[in-house]
């Protein structure tokens, strides 16, 4: 825990992990030493279901630039989705 940058949000959705699809109930967002990415620190995004145990997890580790690009594209897709649904 070198940065102590950690966020948690409750959400509803699904994710596919090694055991197949499962209901996602929480997301962890952190910025700390990654497990796999070749960075000293990385943005970690974990989709989990705490009721199903630690293995119910889909994880990504991104560099900051990539993470911001992802956020922008998600926002753009959601803006378009809003226009589609509201039409």
């Amino acid at each position: 825990m070198c940065t102590m940058i950690a966020e948690k949000v409750e959400l509803t959705g699904s994710a596919k992990g090694p055991q197949g699809w499962f209901r996602v109930a929480q997301a962890y967002i952190g910025y700390d030493h990654p497990v796999h990415a070749d960075e000293e620190h990385a943005l970690s995004l974990d989709f989990v279901n705490e009721d199903l145990g630690p293995a119910a997890r889909v994880a990504v580790e991104l560099d900051r630039h990539t993470a911001r690009t992802l956020i922008e594209r998600i926002q753009a897709a959601l803006d378009e989705a809003d226009r589609y649904e509201d039409a």
Partner: protein
């Protein structure tokens, strides 16, 4: 030191220790096969969890003639793949310092009770494990030496403490009761060279025995040979040599 004519063997296995609040937690233990007496090393794992590197490191200490134990400090958050458990711990803001100290006391009690023990115990840790080793060596009068490898957040700002980690370990330095070996990369940002300076100043202020080695070109985690971006071979080779020399001096 390898003697090609000598018998060598070890046993390494998962066991259970009695940790903080009487909780039973898993621990990985490796020890030489023989009557001893052997010194011991309590190995504090890092943020990525109770993982393969830490099991290998625990066996490495045993191969060098130490009773080595590495408790799963994240055991209470569940079991499974180390990174899955570590993700949960990270989201919860880490584990409580009091809990880590209690788990360390349990390990020391076990190590000293072993019939092969010579009564000496050193602490070793990297990253958050370095912080936990420093914390335990300050709060427990139980260690004969402390090896802090790039422990992060030993030195923190006053507004960076949390309910689980209410005191920056550096503020316990007056209570430290054993010599310290510190290994740091000058390219690291946590701890940064300024953090290392502050820690060294605290050790000087309180008259503690210590030796720090700072490596140019090395960043965070320069021992991790499974992490190409972190591993820094020249620093790692020299750092491990410093570890063995320090243990020989403090725990023989």
């Amino acid at each position: 030191m390898i003697d090609t004519g000598a018998y060598e063997g070890m046993i390494a296995e998962t066991t259970v220790i009695v940790g903080h609040a009487g909780d039973h937690i898993n621990a990985y233990m490796a020890r030489p096969l023989g009557p001893g007496p052997y010194p011991a090393v309590l190995v504090f794992h890092h943020l990525p969890g109770w993982d393969r590197w830490y099991r290998e490191t625990t066996r490495r200490f045993a191969a060098e003639g130490y009773l080595a134990i590495c408790p799963d400090l994240y055991h209470r958050q569940g079991t499974g793949q180390p990174d899955d458990v570590a993700a949960k711990v990270r989201a919860e803001g880490g584990v409580a310092d009091d809990q880590v100290v209690g788990d360390a006391q349990g390990c020391v009690d076990l190590l000293r009770a072993l019939p092969q023990s010579n009564g000496k115990v050193a602490g070793f840790g990297t990253c958050s494990g370095g912080r936990h080793a420093y914390l335990a060596a300050c709060r427990l009068d139980a260690f004969d030496g402390l090896i802090n490898c790039w422990g992060g957040r030993i030195v923190t700002d006053a507004d960076d403490v949390t309910e689980k980690q209410p005191v920056a370990p550096v503020d316990y330095t007056a209570d430290l009761s054993c010599p310290v070996l510190g290994l740091f990369g000058n390219e690291d940002s946590s701890p940064s060279p300024e953090h290392v300076d502050a820690l060294e100043e605290a050790l000087k202020t309180h008259g503690k025995a210590y030796e720090f080695h700072r490596y140019d070109g090395a960043g965070h985690g320069f021992f991790y040979d499974d992490r190409p971006a972190a591993y820094h071979a020249a620093s790692a080779v020299d750092g491990w040599a410093k570890v063995w020399h320090f243990l020989q001096r403090t725990t023989a």
